[in-house]
Symmetry: C2
Subunit: 461 residues, 2 copies
């Protein structure tokens, strides 16, 4: 695709003044993400401050046939924001207004550039919170676009369940509001759910209306370690099946725990471990924890260290959130191929065991951790980016892992998205007919293929 013409750049400047940048540093920042994919710089970065400005930018891009890539904070791990066809990066970080908090209705509407931590700060005085927590302090627009989830999803669902309505600019420049603040609706096609997870290929999301939850009366955290990963996983599966409404259930394997201890200066036993959280009334939290502890013991769990102290809980989740960075330190200079399979929970233990056997046969050490209550886990395949054979070997492990998950009626990506890195698995997972339908939707919305082109799928096929 052609470089943007001077006329196009002048038009952008006429619109946004100095909120248009072609500087190398700005372009480099926006052409890089947390993934192992090579950097790909946009030709120009714009910083709109309203839906109407986004609309004007989209109309300009349409008129000049320039690709556009929506951008939040760049925390994607599958290359979603890389400008692989150049064009305009639409940085939404200045769209950071809290539009409305409707405490009585348990909803909030925010501009797409508001991050989840910021939203929760704003909510602090209301007694409400927004639970979805992918680890990174991502924007709500970005989280909607990748259908993000994270540690709380086992209890509160993902962005799929927690976005009520969106405001978005379509590739033709139309502004749509999908959905309303009603809790449910049967009015026509579910455009909200179509744009959630569309990775910016169908529209630029500019506002997000989300569900909020009352801050639980009591929160407790717990840590318990096991002889084996299977014991930890089985405990969580049984808890889910018993209906214990666990709020967080994260498994970290022995290697991950060792990396965590080194990185976060903690002294947890370096064994397969569950990090847990329970929400409810004082009595409810105690009841849940007691039941969970009994299941853990029955599955070979050690001491069940339980606490309702905020400091203890924060220390735990800080350590968990840093597990990715801790893992990276195991092999300095490496890049991480982050796997993201999700399988029905009845197959989870088997999927993890087969993956360990594969690692053992390959002689690879890779930290494994994840959201076991959802059947979703991540394997950190640490590869030397300058060693093609090493990269290929790691990718082959991921390939076999995805095939294993699909054979178990799972998905290649529980929460990271397809982006660039998982396109070859989408056809295997969804099937050619479903992929054909997805492409038909893309063509209907974006016939000139200008909105985040080359993500999810190519249109050549």
């Amino acid at each position: 695709m052609p470089c943007p013409s001077p006329e196009f750049i002048h038009s952008l400047q006429a619109l946004l003044g100095d909120r248009v940048s072609q500087s190398e540093a700005i372009r480099a920042h926006h052409g890089h993400d947390e993934s192992c994919h090579p950097d790909a710089l946009p030709d120009v970065v714009v910083f709109p401050e309203s839906t109407e400005e986004v609309q004007a930018v989209v109309r300009l891009c349409a008129r000049f046939a320039v690709p556009m890539v929506p951008y939040g904070v760049g925390s994607s791990v599958e290359g979603h924001t890389l400008a692989i066809h150049g064009g305009v990066c639409i940085d939404l970080s200045r769209m950071s207004r809290i539009v409305a908090v409707d405490a009585e209705d348990l909803t909030a509407t925010v501009e797409a550039g508001v991050t989840r931590v910021r939203l929760n700060q704003e909510l602090r005085h209301t007694g409400l919170f927004f639970p979805i927590d992918p680890g990174a302090d991502a924007t709500l627009g970005g989280m909607a676009s990748t259908r993000a989830s994270g540690t709380n999803a086992v209890r509160y669902g993902t962005m799929r369940e927690n976005v009520l309505a969106l405001t978005a600019v379509l590739p033709n420049g139309d502004i749509v509001r999908t959905g309303s603040r009603a809790k449910k609706s049967s009015a026509g096609y579910d455009l909200t759910r179509l744009l959630v997870g569309a990775e910016g290929t169908l529209a630029v999301i500019t506002e997000v209306t989300v569900r909020l939850y009352g801050m639980p009366e009591a929160m407790a955290s717990a840590v318990v370690n096991f002889d084996s990963v299977a014991g930890a996983v089985d405990t969580v599966i049984q808890a889910i099946q018993c209906g214990i409404p666990v709020a967080r259930a994260e498994m970290l394997d022995a290697l991950t725990m060792s990396a965590v201890n080194r990185y976060s200066k903690t002294d947890y036993p370096e064994r397969p471990t569950l990090f847990l959280e329970f929400h409810g009334s004082e009595a409810g939290v105690a009841e849940q924890s007691l039941l969970f502890g009994e299941l853990a013991t029955a599955n070979g769990g050690g001491e069940f260290v339980w606490s309702t102290r905020d400091e203890e809980r924060n220390r735990l989740w800080q350590a968990r959130h840093n597990a990715y960075f801790a893992g990276l330190q195991l092999k300095p200079g490496s890049r991480c191929i982050a796997t993201d399979v999700c399988v029905p929970i009845s197959r989870l233990a088997e999927c993890i065991e087969a993956t360990y056997r594969d690692l053992e046969e390959e002689g690879i050490d890779a930290p494994l951790f994840g959201h076991v209550g959802d059947g979703n886990f991540h394997l950190m395949l640490l590869a030397d980016p300058n060693d093609a054979a090493d990269m290929a070997r790691m990718k082959a492990v991921n390939h076999r892992l995805v095939e294993r998950a699909l054979a178990m009626d799972g998905t290649c990506t529980g929460e990271h998205g397809i982006g660039i890195g998982k396109q070859r698995y989408l056809a295997a997972e969804a099937g050619e007919s479903a992929l054909f339908a997805m492409r038909a939707i893309k063509r209907a919305f974006d016939p000139d293929n200008l909105m985040n082109p080359g993500k999810i799928f190519s249109l050549a096929g």
Copy 2:
């Protein structure tokens, strides 16, 4: 559109043998539904028994350019199954196999013709249940197609949240499986949520994979009546805001209670009344009920009649499910214009009050009841179908009610769907740009407009 040709009928017969009917009685049965819309008969009704047979029928319809209408049990209240352009009615009732119950994963896969009561009968020995309950014993395929919900949605969500995956036949004859049995996925466009609520206009759903839930350890029902509708509504709103996880919270107004007593031979006080249900542990259910009862008292509630007896609970919900039929008896010979607005719960009391004022000014008696925990209620506007002025007056009340709901950022339909009857409100609710996007999807999937044509929107606009 033309009548099906003899050649087309012969092709259907070659495919399905005697499972092709052109009999007047069969056509009349399939050309009638629970709505107030005039009957519209298909030219022919077919009874496929597998996804492959549906595929073959769809391919024939595509080849001969014959409209097709998917059909479950005909319980739609917005004319979804009426063959307004003639063609083939695809009756899925013989696709009634339980494909799989995966108790460990809390999922079941069933053919589209399985009804919710049948599914729950099959689940009885597993300790699991499927909660979504729209009142009628609808098929899972039909419930998915209208994005149905009902009395349990306040706790368990709607079909939107509870369908994990679908098998469906697209207008081009392709079979797609959308989604997997993984609890979450970020793999590409959410075709599952696109087909849920598409009212059969984008595909014929042939299999549905749904979430199941563990049967709660304890269930309690309760009834409490109030001086005013506002007291009842405020109690529910406060309970939701306090985080009481009420499983059902239905409000029936005084007129509805009087109709219910007459129809179901009950002797409830004829005052605004809440029918409630609580799910949880023994202690949890008692705690929830206690809290709820306190809120009721604070809002002018009378005696809080609480029970964990199954018979009491069943009697309550049978009476609630029959409220529609009870209401019809208030004006024998009438047809019901069933309204279905849903508003943010903070606006619900105001919406209901303004509606009562409208009814009073018009001198209309109309039962009002609904799923107040969701902000969704139904007004039964009983009109004499032979009195055009009466019909027009009732439709005008509905029109003003929808406008009121939309002004409150609500929806014209919480659970019934657009069908034929609410098309004129869809543009007002979704906006022209969103409607344009919906039509673009329809055209991309079904360029010849053969799949349930004329439902949700016309393609002329």
